[in-house]
Amino acid sequence: MGLASYLIVSTLLFGIGAFGFLARRNAILMLISIELMLNSVNLSLVAFNAYIPEAQNAGALFALLVMAVAAAEATVGLALVIAIIRTRQTAEVDAYSDLKE
């Protein structure tokens, strides 16, 4: 169990999040995928912090700050999604095509 294994897990989690964001049709699931990507970045930050002594806790500190920003992002994102779903009556992003030519 070295730094590389944690980085690989983090990379795979980011890839799963990116795939979910690009491929899923449900707006809430796209937000969940964004959360997965933010979590993968947090994992790599904490892993770097643990294995590189010169980091001096900066990784853990920034992981905490990223969590706070992710909480803000989730709040506003879900509020937006709920507002859109209330007016359009569907969570499928394919239906949000008003600005399409």
């Binding site: 980011f14 990116a18 899923r24 904490v46 912090n49 706070a68 803000a72």
Partner: protein, 147 residues
């Protein structure tokens, strides 16, 4: 391969967050693990579950989970994984053999000295997010009743 029911997806996401909290604990950062449990498992997961229950009109006929361009998305995701993974594995990070545990006192001191400005910015961002979320999620009819 994929979960069609969005509630099941949210539960799987909670399992993932819990596993990540365990990894943070393994990496010698119990404060980050505690924050993960509090913020992600406690707040964000519940928020997402509430949003799902507010918006899903029964699970009568679940639509196809993916866009038509799912293969394009898979290709892009594989490309991202390949590039980041290659960079992460091939770089010499100069990593120590053993993990360094996080020093709680040092974190607490740093948050209010060297990192005071980011802390204040994040608190302001959270306040703005709370006000924005209340404004966005408010029902229009409540507006009219107030006037």
């Amino acid at each position: 391969m994929t979960l069609r029911n969005i509630i099941h997806s949210a539960i799987a996401m909670m399992v993932c967050f819990g596993a990540l909290a365990g990894m943070y604990a393994l990496l010698g950062a119990p404060i980050v693990a505690a924050a993960q449990v509090l913020i992600y498992l406690g707040a964000i997961s519940v928020l997402i579950l509430f949003a799902i229950m507010l918006t899903q009109a029964g699970d009568a006929n679940l639509p196809a989970p993916f866009h038509r361009q799912v293969w394009l998305a898979a290709l892009a995701a594989l490309l991202i994984v390949g590039l980041i993974g290659w960079g992460a594995v091939s770089t010499d990070w100069g990593a120590a053999a053993a993990t360094v545990a996080v020093d709680l006192n040092a974190i607490a001191a740093a948050l209010f000295t060297d990192y005071a400005l980011p802390l204040e910015i994040v608190s302001l961002l959270l306040l703005a997010a709370i006000i924005g979320a209340i404004f966005l999620a408010r029902r229009p009819e409540e507006d009219e009743r107030a006037n």
